[in-house]
Each structure stands twice: as structure tokens, then as C-alpha cells.
């Protein structure tokens, strides 16, 4: 088989992995380096960024997971790279600045240890040849702790996919993977990272997964609510010190009877989950305050921060000339950058509404939740239902081709508003 054919097959086979980040590391090799903020090199026709050469080493899988295109039963062309072949492609692509490094994953061929060893071989070759680019390596569930640790000394980031947000869904759709198989390597990586970090003070240690670890779960293939998903993410951030949790809208690839019969991936839901995830990581929201049991799904028509604010009007209005950073960050329309700009600018002068606009605050949203020197923006109309309509009208839904007609959209939006504002039983 020609090399380009292998690349096509094994690239296509890896495309459902959402992560492509190349941030968090500042490695410097003989040829190549990692850039701390990460660098995107291209954007594919689906609009997702391409930073790393994302490929499987092999797609000849011994497992038969229902949601996966590479399962034993599925009828796809199979291929496998020799480690030297993948090294050659990686180096050549890197030299032309197509990529920032390698995202190395694999189907489980023969057994987990064999698979992990082959991946280790690729990384070893690259690093021996002086390659300083970014490497993201998947840990194969079931591989020995020692192999996982060896990989960590060569990779910048590692990840183990949690795949499905609950043990019961995992049992149903991926019977060969258990929760323990997944959480064990995650724990091994976390412990080794902590160990390497604590050693730092004595002498420069070998860096272990300097960009930390991440994971991914599929959304919409199983019945979990958004609240359950966010609680799980929150726990992963806390207990496993993950850098990122990725959410991947389920794309139907097989006809397994246990899978939902959808034709389009739930992209809007995925988008809302990412927004909620941002609230946890950059806005100091805890995982259990974004949604409550009464309302366990994220609002379709409103971003999670607006939805939270409308249910917690007791926090508002916020006085922008006095409020501390954390309070400013809770205001819809004020982001991390504009909040920090407010802190700087108000040291020099009292801020007015037009100043806020110049600082990058989205007044169309923020106006309902803030005062400047004790006053609301003049002529502001206010009632919870009015605000819901005004805010949701600003949402850019068509990006996902919602395909809903206007009148139906209005009706559905109205129902959603009443639910959120507690006027309907969910």
C-alpha cells in the first residue's frame, strides 16, 4: 500500500478525536519547539482546527465498541504504519510548517501492551532524532502502568478518553472497556505529573507530560443529562487535575440497536457544553451551580452564563466601578479580558456606559445586569421574560443550521423561556 493511502485511512480514522490543542509546553529540540500558547496551522472543511498531525498508528482493532467506526465488525479499509514511516511524515510535515507536532493514537491491535509499545517506539525515534515539536499521545486503556509512564517522558500531553459519561452506557456500548481501565492510566499519569512537579525544586527533572492530560466524552450517544456530564467534568478537573475535557457530538457511524437513531450530530448541545465548561475553567463557576436538578439540560436559546444570570437575579445589578473581579466575571457580556480592562481603567477614571463599550464589554447583554455609578443605562427595558427574549435574539444559532422555521422557533423559544423562568414544570 502506498504511504499516502495509509495516511488517508489512518487520518480519517482519527478524525473523531476532538482534541488538537498544542498548548502548555515550551519544549525546545534540535529541530522544532513547542509554543506555550499553542499554534493552529489550518482549519479543516468542518471548521475544526488542525494543529497536530492526528493519526492512528493502526486501525486494526480487536474491540467491537458500538459507537466506533474502527470496530472489528465495521467494513472500513484497514492500515498500519511502520514507526519509521510515521516519523518520516511527521518530520516532513513539520519542516513545511503544516503542523505543530503529532497526535498519536491507535486502535488496540493484538493487545494493549503491544499497541502502547509501538506508539512508544514512534515517539522514541522522533525524540532521538532531535524532534522538539509537540506530541500528544493517547494512553491505551489496559496497557501496563510502566509503559504509560515511559510514554509520559516523551510526550507533551497525554489523554485517556472516558468515551461515555456513565458506567452503564460504557457497559452497553463499549463492553470491552471498563471504567477502571480508563481511570487507572489517568491516575498513573496524574501521579507521575505530581511527582515530577514536586521534584522540580531540587534539580531540573525530566519533564513528564508538561502540558498535562485531557480526556474526551461522546455526547448524545447515551441518555445522560447535561448536568450529569458537567458534574463528571467537574470531578475530573478536581480529582485528576485534567487540563481539558473535550465533548464530541455523536456522529452516527454504525447501526447498533442500542444507539439513538439520529441523522445529525447534536452540534448545538456540544457547543453549549463547551460554553459551560469555559465557565468552570475561566469564570470560577462550580460544576453544580450551572444547572440544577429541576432543570438538568442547558438552554438551547441562551448561553449558559445568561441562563444562570436570569435564574439568579439576586446577584445583580453589579456596580462596575466597585465590584471585584469574580463578581464582574459573572456578568453576561463581560469576559475575562474586558473584566481585567475594567479593573485597570477604573483606577484612572470613573467608568461610564460608553467607556465600557470602548473596553470591549458587550453592552447589549451586560446592560441588564450592571450599573455605572449607581445608575442603569438610560431607557433600559426590564422584565425577566423581556430580557430572555432580548438575549436569545442575539444568539447566533444559524451557524449550526438549526433548520427551524421562524414561527416554530419563536414558539419553542417561548416555551424554553417559561421553563427557565420557572413558570412551567420542566
Amino acid at each position: 500500500m502506498e504511504l499516502y493511502e495509509k495516511l488517508e485511512i489512518l487520518g480519517a480514522a482519527a478524525k473523531y478525536d476532538a482534541s488538537c490543542s498544542s498548548s502548555g509546553s515550551n519544549r525546545q529540540g534540535k529541530v522544532g519547539s513547542a509554543a506555550l500558547p499553542g499554534i493552529c496551522h489550518s482549519w479543516a472543511n468542518d471548521g475544526r482546527c488542525i494543529s497536530l498531525l492526528k493519526v492512528l498508528l493502526s486501525n486494526k482493532c480487536i474491540y467491537n465498541c458500538a459507537y466506533c467506526k474502527n470496530s472489528t465488525d465495521s467494513d472500513v479499509p484497514r492500515a498500519e504504519f511502520a514507526p519509521e514511516e510515521l516519523v518520516k511524515i511527521t518530520e516532513s510535515f513539520y519542516a513545511r510548517n503544516y503542523i505543530e507536532g503529532l497526535f498519536l493514537s491507535s486502535a488496540v491491535t493484538r493487545n494493549p501492551d503491544y499497541t502502547m509499545e509501538r506508539m512508544l517506539e514512534v515517539m522514541r525515534l522522533l525524540r532521538q532524532r532531535g524532534f522538539g515539536g509537540y506530541i500528544h499521545c493517547k494512553a491505551i486503556p489496559g496497557a501496563s502502568d510502566d509503559l504509560v509512564r515511559q510514554c509520559g517522558f516523551l510526550a507533551d500531553r497525554m489523554s485517556v478518553n472516558i468515551e461515555l459519561p456513565s458506567q452503564s452506557s460504557l457497559q452497553l456500548l463499549a463492553p470491552k472497556k471498563s471504567k477502571l481501565d480508563i481511570l487507572n492510566p489517568m491516575g498513573v499519569i496524574r501521579n507521575a505529573i505530581t511527582e515530577a512537579r514536586d521534584k522540580k525544586s531540587i534539580h531540573a527533572p525530566e519533564p513528564f507530560v508538561p502540558a498535562g492530560q485531557s480526556t474526551q466524552m461522546i455526547v448524545g450517544a447515551s441518555p445522560e443529562t447535561d448536568r450529569q456530564i458537567l458534574l463528571l467534568s467537574g470531578a475530573l478537573y478536581r480529582n485528576y487535575e485534567l487540563k481539558r475535557v473535550y465533548y464530541s457530538a455523536y456522529v452516527p457511524v454504525t447501526n447498533h440497536p442500542a444507539l439513538p437513531g439520529i441523522t445529525k450530530p447534536p452540534l448545538l448541545r456540544e457547543h453549549r457544553l463547551y460554553q459551560a465548561d469555559w465557565l468552570m475553567r475561566f469564570y470560577n463557576f462550580s460544576s453544580d451551580e450551572i444547572l440544577d436538578e429541576r432543570l438538568p439540560m442547558l438552554d438551547e436559546y441562551l448561553d449558559p452564563k445568561c441562563a444562570w444570570a436570569l435564574r439568579h437575579m439576586e446577584y445583580f445589578p453589579v456596580e462596575v466601578n466597585r465590584a471585584p473581579l469574580n463578581t464582574l466575571l459573572r456578568v453576561p457580556g463581560i469576559g475575562n479580558i474586558s473584566a481585567r480592562r475594567i479593573l485597570s481603567a477604573r483606577r484612572m477614571a470613573k467608568l461610564t456606559f460608553s467607556d465600557l463599550k470602548a473596553l470591549g464589554v458587550v453592552l447589549k447583554r451586560a446592560a441588564y445586569f450592571i450599573t455605572c455609578s449607581g445608575k442603569y443605562e438610560p431607557q433600559l427595558k426590564m422584565s425577566p421574560a423581556y430580557v430572555y427574549r432580548a438575549l436569545s435574539a442575539q444568539e447566533k444559532l444559524p451557524v449550526f443550521d438549526a433548520g427551524i422555521q421562524t414561527s416554530m422557533f419563536d414558539e419553542a423559544r417561548e416555551l424554553s423561556a417559561m421553563r427557565l423562568l420557572g413558570r412551567l414544570q420542566a
Binding site: L3, Y4, L7, E8, I9, G11, A12, A14, K15, Y16, G29, K30, V31, G32, S33, A35, P37, I39, C40, H41, S42, W43, A44, N45, D46, G47, R48, C49, I50, S51, L53, K54, I89, S92, F93, A95, R96, N97, Y98, E100, G130, G132, A249, V251, K264, P265, L267, R341, S344, A345, R347, M348, A349, L351, D355, A358, L359, V399
Partner: protein, 252 residues
């Protein structure tokens, strides 16, 4: 008092020499241009200022010592933006900075501070974008060659990044719009202006890798999620002509 516009060679030394001149001549300077004026206004007086290392050093060290290094960086990057009117904002910013000291960069509600910050942000953003979107081609002589055509004059920060990253590799980055070329070898680079670059003979292996990359590029997209609008939002069409995976087949 008559409004005066200074014209420079576009370099940072040129800008600083102009700032120095504005301070000591006492003229009513309203703008500093990175080149000759395109259209002259009858009521305005135009004056060419030569780059001057000594004057430039004095402005640099005054900015660095009396204000802050960050303020110097804002000025340096804003100047690279080549945005209309930015020279005037930079001059006002520097005047204000010498009065306020390091607090200058908190004064975000001031129009000149905001303009300088916004311009420097744009330059930073395009630089970062080009670190990803720049494409090298291997020439028959074993040199990695890249063409860029950017909104702002970002060849210097880009060349710095690649010189640091690529070790002993030789490479050339050519700005087709500004006719600037950065030639790098062994981690160091030099900038040349007024360069007319001849067409490069490519290495026999080059087509093979470019083709492989294009196939990979198509394979990695999820068909069910096709979203050209989102793609263009991140990767505007004006950059496609130098992009291996996007340039039209006839120009490959």
C-alpha cells in the same frame, strides 16, 4: 499653527527619530507615516525624517526607563500595524506616557491609548495567525522558502519565531507585498528590503509531500459537520493563495 506630517522609512529607528524631532522642533506634528505620503494635503506641511540610531536610542531608553518596557512593546507593535493615522496616535501616546509614567497602560478610556493598544493587538493576532498559516516549500537548493502577504508588517516577529525554532535549517521568508525578505541560517536571520525574488525551483520531493498534506487535509474533516463559514472565520480567504492545502491547482 501649521499641521505637519513626518515621513519616515518605516523602520522603528525612523519612527523614534521622528518622535525625537517632534519633541525638539516644537512643530504641530499630527501624523508620522511609514513611507512617503500617498496623497498630499495642500494645507499640511510634509517633512522627511531620516532614521537616526542615536536619536532612536534616546527615545527607546527614555520610554523603557521613564515609562515601562511594556509601553515600548505597545509602540513597537502598533507601528508595525501600518494602520492609517497610527503614527499620530503613537506620538500622542508617547507624550502622555512621559507625563503619566507606567500608569499610561491603565488609561484605557483615552482614545490614543486605546488606538495604540488595539493596533498592537492586531499585529500580535496576525503574527500568531501566520506562525500557523505560513507554509515552507523545499527548494532544489535545500532551502525552505515561504511567501507571505500580510495586512500588517509582521515579517520580523515571524522570522524571529522560526529562526529560534528551526535550529540549523536555512530558510527564507518573503513578504510579496512589501518586498521584504528574511534570510535565516543557524538560528540567526537578516532582513533585506527592496527584494525582487525570482521564482524558485522546487525539490523533486516537494510535490509528493504537498499532495500528501492535501489528501490528509480532506480526510481529517468530518463530512456531517461541514462548515465553510466557520472555516473562513478562522482562516480568511485572503491567506489562501499561499496555503498549500487551499491554493488553486493552477498555482501549485
Amino acid at each position: 499653527m501649521t499641521e505637519v506630517i513626518y515621513m519616515t522609512d518605516g523602520s522603528l529607528e525612523g519612527l523614534f527619530a521622528a518622535v525625537h524631532e517632534a519633541y525638539y522642533s516644537g512643530e504641530n506634528v499630527v501624523d508620522i507615516l511609514p513611507g512617503p505620503a500617498q496623497m498630499q494635503n495642500y494645507l499640511v506641511q510634509y517633512k522627511s525624517i531620516a532614521a537616526d540610531g542615536e536619536k532612536s536610542d534616546r527615545v527607546y531608553s527614555a520610554l523603557n526607563k521613564k515609562v515601562s518596557y511594556e509601553a515600548f512593546e505597545y509602540v513597537r507593535d502598533a507601528w508595525l500595524s501600518e494602520l492609517p493615522g497610527i503614527g499620530g496616535h503613537i506620538l500622542s501616546y508617547i507624550r502622555l506616557a512621559f507625563r503619566l509614567g507606567r500608569k499610561i497602560d491603565d488609561f484605557l478610556t483615552n482614545a490614543d491609548v486605546a488606538a495604540v493598544h488595539a493596533a498592537s493587538y492586531k499585529v500580535g493576532a496576525e503574527t500568531h495567525r501566520m506562525l500557523g498559516l505560513l507554509r515552507f516549500e523545499l527548494t532544489a537548493d535545500g532551502i525552505y522558502f515561504a511567501k507571505i502577504d500580510t495586512d500588517h508588517n509582521v515579517i520580523v516577529p515571524i522570522a524571529e519565531h522560526f529562526a529560534q525554532r528551526l535550529g540549523d535549517r536555512s530558510f527564507v521568508i518573503y513578504d510579496t507585498k512589501r518586498k521584504l525578505a528574511a534570510l535565516a541560517k543557524n538560528g540567526e536571520y537578516a532582513l533585506y528590503s527592496g527584494v525582487d525574488m525570482p521564482e524558485m525551483q522546487l525539490h523533486p520531493e516537494e510535490m509528493q509531500f504537498a499532495d500528501m498534506w492535501r489528501r490528509y487535509f480532506d480526510a481529517i474533516a468530518i463530512k456531517e459537520r461541514t462548515n465553510p463559514k466557520l472555516q473562513r472565520a478562522f482562516m480568511p480567504k485572503r491567506y489562501w493563495k499561499n496555503l498549500t492545502e487551499k491554493k488553486p491547482p493552477a498555482t501549485r
